[in-house]
């Protein structure tokens, strides 16, 4: 049984079709990376799954039609980490992570012991215990990214959507964040769908890559099937070499056109 099933998912924004009949099944515990050039519809696909944009077609989350689920129910199953989260600077890391418990609370409800335990677990898994009383705007970019991930973890949703989880991070932090996501996927049995710009990292971490261009799915499969020079040149309009580096998977290297 798949954790997430997209059937002919289409999104039209401002009269333009930005996602065109995307269909795919994501298995439990699988990591699927959406790749493609800017404007390919990667982020829109994530937002549609999270119920944030109107769409045609069907999204099934753990068997159920996402449209039939009330907002809170959907949020208990799908957690979204946006590319540039709005960071309320003057609240503490702990208070911020606690917001992840929102889908589990009544309208006027307040957090109980279970919620605080979920927050403790999320903080601990992301090594944020020493920072829990710090204000968010005193953290570095990498620490903030971890806080955002912790908030999504506290949500306790089996499906995690990550929009460019490594944007604006240095090489070391990128690796750290992706390792953490992979670890959480293993330890919590999460299903991960992420958009990624770095093709090498996408190939290293995701089980399956979906290449989108102009809103349409143009290639899908493992790294060796999708990360080919022909596909990347055609859809990214980039000159690249793809090197099969032992132990590192497929490394996508840009080649300068005029040396």
């Amino acid at each position: 049984m798949s954790a997430l099933a997209l059937d002919q998912l289409s999104v039209t924004l401002g009269g333009a079709c930005v996602l065109d009949r995307l269909s795919t099944d994501v298995a439990h515990g699988e990591w699927v990376a959406l790749i493609g050039p800017n404007g390919a519809g990667k982020t829109t696909a994530l937002r549609a799954v999270a119920g944030l944009v109107p769409y045609e077609g069907q999204v099934r989350v753990l068997k159920d039609d996402a449209r039939s689920l009330p907002g809170k129910q959907l949020a208990r199953r799908v957690a979204l980490v946006p590319q540039v989260p709005l960071i309320p600077g003057d609240i503490t890391v702990r208070a911020y992570v606690l917001l992840g418990r929102t889908p589990h609370l009544g309208y006027f409800g307040s957090e109980g012991r279970t919620d605080h335990r979920a927050v403790d677990a999320a903080l601990e898994q992301l090594d944020l215990i020493p920072f829990e009383r710090r204000a968010l705007d005193t953290l570095s970019g990498g620490e903030r990214q971890r806080a955002t991930l912790a908030r999504a973890l506290a949500q306790d949703a089996p499906v995690l959507l990550l929009d460019e989880p490594t944007a604006a991070l240095d090489m070391g932090r990128q690796q750290q964040v992706l390792e953490i996501v992979d670890e959480l996927r293993m330890s919590r049995g999460l299903t991960v769908v992420s958009t990624m710009h770095d093709l090498t990292l996408a190939g290293q971490y995701a089980d399956r890559l979906l290449l989108l261009d102009g809103g349409r799915l143009v290639a899908a499969g493992s790294a060796d099937e999708v990360l080919t020079r022909a596909l990347i040149t055609q859809h990214y309009r980039a000159d690249v070499e793809v090197v099969d580096a032992p132990g590192s998977g497929f490394v996508v290297v840009p080649v300068r056109r005029t040396p």
């Binding site: 119920g51 979204l80 946006p82 503490t92 208070a95 917001l99 929102t102 204000a135």
Partner: protein
């Protein structure tokens, strides 16, 4: 913020309010005595015999106490409404008058002063005119903002408020120009006053204030959720439009009631929540209850200053809130540290 520290801040704010109330009823041309004041107040509440003489008791019960209570209700309401507006609009400069409540109340009051027959009736109609004007202005801003589309976010609503406020201010200026004799009365109303208050005014504001505080404080956790942005809040399963509508409605109705009895008292809705934010952090869980309590105490103290510095004349309380509030805020801004 640890729960123990939060409780300490709440306790400190309650002590601040208690001190303000006591100073508020003690300061005046006639000396009453702190112990007598407290005993007489309890005597009235529980139907016992007051220890004060007849005239002193009347000064306390008919003049000072209603005025102090009114100041507390108005201050708590403006501060809570300001904090609530800042939360739902994610705009640190939002104040209770953001969506045109001030301009609407101004127009309503001006129309009453200009067109109602000059009699004791004007005094009764003025709060009603101000209340209706303020409420209608915000409804108009909301309808206009919504027509721009929910996707436009809180910015559209704020722009709609600015548009409505400008239009209503133009209308008010026009009416004033047509009735130059109203300028003095309208102007003194606009500056804010608690001078004529009695228990009647307290009765007007009390139900609105209490209901609005309850609704706003009940939304404290959801206002924290809104701080991560409309889209992320929606992804957490929150119906953002509904939260915004409920909080704005509660804040607006209470603001309209406060404006109706006290005129336009500026600055409270900005300075009180921001001072608290600088001291205890930005989480609405603590910010909203503290805003109600500290806002109440702040306006009581401001009123004490308004009626003593130029005694027996009175300064408009709006002048006091700005004159003392702004430098105080500057000091807090410079010396504050983030809570650990």
């Amino acid at each position: 913020m640890r729960p123990a520290r939060a409780r300490l801040w709440l306790l400190a704010s309650v002590l601040f309010l208690a001190a303000a109330l006591l100073v508020g009823v003690l300061v005046g041309p006639v000396h009453l005595g702190a112990v007598n004041v407290v005993r007489a107040t309890f005597a009235h509440v529980f139907g016992l015999h007051s220890p004060l003489s007849g005239s002193d008791d009347a000064i306390l019960w008919e003049l000072r106490l209603p005025r102090v209570i009114l100041a507390a209700l108005v201050g708590g309401t403006l501060a809570a409404a300001g904090a609530a507006y800042q939360g739902v609009f994610r705009n640190p400069l939002a104040d209770p008058y953001l969506l045109g409540a001030a301009a609407g109340a101004g127009l309503g009051a001006t129309i009453v002063v200009a067109y109602a027959p000059a009699s004791s009736l004007t005094g009764d109609l003025l709060p009603i005119g101000a209340f209706v004007g303020a409420a209608l202005a915000v409804v108009a801003a909301y309808v206009l903002g919504r027509s721009a589309g929910i996707a436009a976010g809180p910015g559209a609503l704020v722009l709609a408020g600015v548009t409505i406020a400008s239009f209503l201010t133009a209308l008010q200026t026009f009416v004033q120009q047509q009735h130059v004799d109203t300028v003095q009365e309208v102007y003194s109303w606009l500056l804010g006053r608690l001078a004529t208050s009695g228990w009647r005014d307290v009765g007007i504001v009390l139900p609105y204030a209490v209901v609005s505080w309850a609704v706003i404080i009940a939304h404290r956790r959801l206002l924290d959720v809104l701080s991560v942005g409309d889209e992320e809040a929606a992804a957490l399963g929150v119906n953002v439009a509904r939260v915004r509508l409920l909080v704005v409605t509660a804040a607006t109705i209470a603001t309209a009631a406060a404006v109706a009895v006290s005129g336009l008292i500026g600055f409270v809705g900005i300075i009180v929540p921001h001072t608290i934010r600088l001291l205890v952090g930005g989480s609405y869980r603590l910010l909203l209850p503290l805003s109600v309590i500290v806002g109440a105490g702040f306006l009581v103290f401001a009123d004490v200053i308004a009626r003593t510095v130029m005694s027996p004349a009175e300064l408009p309380i709006g002048v006091v809130t700005a004159f003392f509030g702004a430098p105080f805020f500057a000091v807090v801004l410079r010396t504050s540290r983030r809570p650990a």
